[in-house]
Amino acid sequence: MAQISFNLLFDWDNSGAFNFNESNYLELASGDESMSPPGESSFSGSGFVSEMNLDLINTDSRFSTTNSSSSIYNYIRDGAFLQKRVRLEVIIDGVTYTIFRGFIKSISETLKDYKSIGKVRIKCRSQDDIIKNMQISTPAATTRLAIKEQYDESTLISLILSNAGLTNGVHFRNQDYVLITPTLDRGLFTIPYFWLEKESPIEDAWLLAAACGGRFYFNSEDGLFYYKNAYGFGKGKSATSQATINESNCSGIDYADNDGELIESVSYTARTRYITEVKEIWGSQKPIKVQPLETLTIDCDVSNPIVEVSGYNFVTTAAAGNLITSGIGIVINNVSSKKVNLSIINGNDRLIFLRNFVLEGRLLEPLDNTEYEKSSSASFWSNKTGTEKRISDNPYIQTLAQAKAIADMTLDRQSIFSPKITVKKYRGNFIRVGEMVSVSVVGKFSGNFIVTKSKFNLSKTGFYQDLDLFNASGIYGLQTGGYFIIGTHSGNDNKKLFY
């Protein structure tokens, strides 16, 4: 029987030191971590925000947000508890695991009565939940830079996180880090075009990762954002099994033969774009009226991403219609991906109208989409009809070559029948989603699997996890050892190219 202890730490005073250990109040801690939202494929374009629920004993009203006698009252009153940091550590046989690191989302109290001793439930979310709700836009200069540099998906994820206000080296580590292992894998694909216009950085990063066969997630263990590229996705942590699960260390293993993740064919659409010539990118629908000596600031919404604004044209008249040729200034204050903010300065002491006002510049406009389709050639399908996985709306699949690589990969992942393994109440070392584990049931099956979902539970009865697993050997067309690895293999090695 494993020795279990834990620390439930709060950073009530925002010092960053987690000075408040509330372990004694914990009745139950439970949480979810998953590759994808409930009901969606593990290989969908959506990620999942990790969550934890804490049931705390509140007999003395310590966690009551209305109790002015509580020593933490000022930290939790009037919504002050929102986004306070929390960390749960579980020590299993002397090894400390950070189970969850995140922020408080809500506190709900069950008042003490004749049936209850009084409790609060604190709902917590990982940091991506906060970032997910942001709406960010990138400047046109970023669009130009991305076109010029043609970044891979990892660099773009780094760019997205930076634009969301996160710091490289603090919240994530990109490929610029040499001495410390980056948390963002080197990308495998070139994504020529990039922009954000009032979009959630997390949801965009999820889409970007899905477009490249990888996984973007917040690691609630170390509090950093991670990207696993398409190859890293199938290796799990360090490409080695992190635990051996059998009937002796869990309460049950379910082996489900179903077609939940099974597909027979794929259809991936590449949404290609091009840079237009200099042309009119925005025109005012009606004359722009500017009061005498007024500076009028307007937003010009453009339908497609702006590469650059090269100029403007207009004719100015007075109210009576006579031409005004002096005393008018135009200042372009800001050019974001789909919006130009500019000021019109009227230096005249009379009302003016700017007529036929147009902005000129270059845009990123869509070309005709190209589609890649492929059906599985496996004999398994010879007498069966399967479903087609169709991805047509991911803006980060931008070239046919990329669509082909991802579609081929997806088909290899999901066209071969793969059972879903469910492990109930695993009691051992802490296992995270994305890691690889070995599962064996004597006389039934054994093999390596990737964890796609995890639920943990910590209470007076101990600590356990429920796990959903996907067959790791079916992730690619070959076993991971079959591919030519950079820095390892030579031409003499009989290895194959990855997708």
Partner: protein
């Protein structure tokens, strides 16, 4: 060996300079997808290799098929009448020009003009070089990153250079060389070692190749499909001029002068008429024309992208009553805008 092709150093220099990543400036969309850098521990992917191969093929196509900078264009007699335009994409700091001038009489100073392509552009006198003897070789270097007597050009923009002299009825010039380069660096070719079948292919080796390809400057937005632009000499009825082009862009732009009398030129692509320019009666008239290969208003069989084609100007009518009647094609190039 990626860069063992025999290219004159004066042309290769700016390319190599860019390969080494020393140069600043905008390199906009290259028109092809670059290969991503790789890392030890990751697999060698077919996607990445294909992007590398595709990029090298594009580069080969763009830079090594034709060596347009080797051309010499002889211009004699009046500059005013025989003006030719040299088209460049601003990619490097210094514009290097070497010309041989010959004053048949007293030609005066050599004047260098610059003008951006497109509508309603102004021609600027950017440099004046005194001519002291005849013949004489002049070497001129201009910093195109700075304002040249009112002329400013940004990286990626297309501009044209032309020559004149003080007295338009005398003198001539042979343009020996014209190219942009960066004078601040000494280009060094990337060194990519050969391998054997037992060589472990690591990220340093691959990224050396990939970075070299990624650093090659963007595809020019203009492409000069002609060897020796300009049309010296008189042309009578049924005369013609021909150039060889390689089709890559949306438009072909061309200009002509029709001089002294009624003259008509038909412009043809692969012997299919795309435009007829008739001066009507009059003296010197200037025309700036273009043809959109995509909308293809003349309904010709458009050359395939990457295919060579014949571009010709044929004079199907010259008013015989004006023996001095003549016509000149002053420039021609393909461009996407």
């Amino acid at each position: 060996m990626l860069f063992s092709i025999n290219i004159p150093q004066r042309f290769l220099a700016p390319v190599l300079a860019r390969l080494l990543g020393f140069l600043e400036g905008e390199k906009m969309n290259k028109g092809y997808v670059l290969p991503p850098l790789v890392k030890d521990g990751n697999p060698l992917s077919a996607y990445g290799l294909n992007q590398l191969i595709g990029s090298i093929n594009e580069v080969r196509s763009e830079y090594f098929d034709y060596n347009i900078m080797k051309q010499r264009t002889l211009m004699v007699n009046s500059f005013g009448a025989w003006e030719s335009s040299y088209i460049l994409v601003h990619a490097f700091k210094t514009l290097y020009i070497q010309v041989q001038v010959e004053g048949l009489n007293d030609m005066g100073d050599l004047k260098i003009y610059a003008k951006k392509t497109g509508k309603n552009q102004t021609s600027y006198l950017i440099h004046t070089a005194p001519v002291t003897t005849s013949p004489q070789v002049l070497t001129i270097q201009l910093n195109m990153d700075t304002n040249q007597n009112g002329f400013n050009v940004s990286y990626g923009e297309i501009y044209m250079i032309s020559f004149r002299n003080t007295y338009e009825d005398s003198g001539g010039v042979v343009c020996l060389y014209m190219y942009e380069f960066d004078s601040a660096i000494t280009p060094v070719a990337p060194t990519i070692p050969t391998i054997t079948s037992s060589t472990v292919i690591d990220e340093n080796y691959l990224n050396n190749i990939i970075s070299s390809v990624r650093s090659i400057p963007s595809r020019p937005k203009v492409n000069v499909p002609f060897n020796g632009i300009g049309s010296p000499g008189d042309y009578n009825a049924s005369g013609y001029m021909r150039w060889l082009g390689r089709h890559r862009c949306k438009y072909i732009f061309y200009g002509c002068w029709l001089i002294d009398g009624e003259v008509e030129i038909q412009f043809k692509v692969n012997n299919q008429v795309i435009d007829t320019v008739n001066s009507g009666s009059g003296s010197v008239q200037f025309y700036n024309r273009s043809y959109n290969f995509q909308t293809n208003p003349a309904g010709i069989t458009v050359p395939a992208i990457g295919a060579d084609y014949d571009f010709s100007a044929e004079f199907d009518y010259v008013d015989e009553g004006h023996p001095a009647a003549a016509a000149f094609v002053t420039y021609a190039y393909e461009s996407d805008w």
